[in-house]
Symmetry: C2
Subunit: 253 residues, 2 copies
DNA sequence: CGAGCAATTGAGTACACTCAACGCGCGTGG
DNA sequence: CCACGCGCGTTGAGTGTACTCAATTGCTCG
């Protein structure tokens, strides 16, 4: 079994179905509780706030900002990171279209991390107070929301496993496998995709240096497991990558 | 600022007040929403299930168990850990009296980690389906529950920061400082306390080996920052420990 | 075309790991 | 009562993986 790094993995639902069901916020996770009837879906639709464009490199929210909205990513990619007292950042996750941002802010009514767009992106604002009110009226939505928060907890536990237990090669393989599975779950190719983040950001996330990431990419290329061209990735040997991720791959050497 | 590792830090409320307000489950976090009126508190009280004793080394729940209850720790300490594909464990947290276990299980209706008592402990079972129903009726409780889940997310992010960014010395200092602050917040001494976990468990949690932990303890002792006797810890230089945790301490060498 | 940034590659180093021996406390059994 | 074994923790010596520092290449964009 592959350690599930995937933030809030998404059930496989055809995109068209989602679009049809949720006009303003199609494709993001809050719209997935399939038990919702049309009326409920409308109510959910109505509280969704304005759409907002976030340009590459721009900050969606930062540490200490008052917590007002959750954000559903409609399009694009984000990174979230914390700042340690020394001023260095630690990336805590990469989020893609369909995922939800800001759940860590509920606890203290302030954001606990920074969220920055890795490319030009679109988000929907979801006013949390409205959402919470709605949750009280719609048990199905409530259940779903709890699932999503719980999945975020689970995802982070997997990252702890990665950072606490794995060697560099294994970490990197796990990272690639995780990205692939998330793209696949979203209807994109799980074999060929673009890295939206820099080598430095990958290294930061995985607790490694940029040089290590570079060497790992070279190695994976040389071994014939990956085709790499700048940020374009093609997985040539998924079985091997999964084996390494699982710690089974003796080829970790 | 000290990286907040504390799982679900607890507001400072005198224990007696809590006991007075919540008969069966006094002292755990679910009983803390101070906005609850007496009637609501009674309702919450009524859904709390049976108490259960978990002996040292015994398992409260394990990976794959169907998710039925959350558990409020009334007394004692637990560890939660994941198992990687190679069969090794990675400890994801240490929990003490007043904290809540099992929130990672909501997402998939199965537990995602194992929970084992570090000493003879008491827990309250909280049937999640009853709780969720109640959440729909009690906005204050709903809010509080979301805060708790969010705090768990925040806590794990801090551990990611620790594992991804910090050196051994800093990790260990952060660990001690975190424990101290949690004990203090609970009304115990934040200066002198007992480690409930073995060196091996600390090392596992911090992504270090047992030997490294042992050496760090010796070093901290030699430097005069800690008094150490087996599992008994006394903090002699809290300022220095906090400085190291913050990365300010040049004495990291 | 050139400036500037991102990524690669190489050489040397250091921090934490591995392996191994030893000490200590404690419970058990002779 | 002491001897012994066992688990847990400490300490030392040597090693290796990933880091640091540095030089070079390649890409992007003005």
């Amino acid at each position: 079994m592959i350690p599930e790094l995937s933030p809030i993995s998404m059930p496989r639902v055809p995109v068209e179905v989602l679009r049809a069901r949720c006009s303003t916020c199609s494709m993001h996770q809050l719209c997935l509780p399939m038990g919702l009837d049309v009326g409920d879906m409308d109510k959910l639709d109505q509280i969704i706030g304005r759409r907002r464009r976030v340009l590459r490199g721009a900050t969606l929210f930062r540490i200490g900002d008052p917590f007002v909205n959750l954000y559903a990513i409609r399009l694009g990619h984000f990174k979230t990171y914390q700042i340690n007292p020394g001023g260095e950042e630690q990336i805590t996750g990469f989020q893609m279209a369909g995922e939800l941002l800001g759940m860590d802010a509920i606890s203290a009514d302030r954001h606990h991390c920074n969220a920055v767009a890795l490319e030009d992106s679109d988000v929907c604002e979801i006013p949390f107070s409205s959402l919470e009110q709605l949750l009280g009226e719609m048990p199905t939505l409530l259940r779903h929301f709890h699932r999503m928060m719980s999945q975020e907890i689970t995802r982070e536990q997997s990252v702890m496993l990665l950072l606490g237990n794995m060697q560099a090669t294994q970490r990197f393989a796990a990272f690639i496998v995780n990205l692939a599975s998330r793209y696949e779950a979203r209807g994109y190719s799980g074999v060929k995709f673009q890295l939206r983040m820099s080598r430095e950001e990958i290294g930061n996330y995985l607790g490694l240096t940029i040089e290590s990431i570079s060497r790992l990419l070279s190695k994976f290329k040389k071994e014939g497991w990956l085709r790499v061209s700048n940020r374009e990735i093609e997985i040539l040997n998924p079985v091997m990558l999964k084996a390494i991720t699982a710690g089974t791959g003796d080829a970790c050497a």
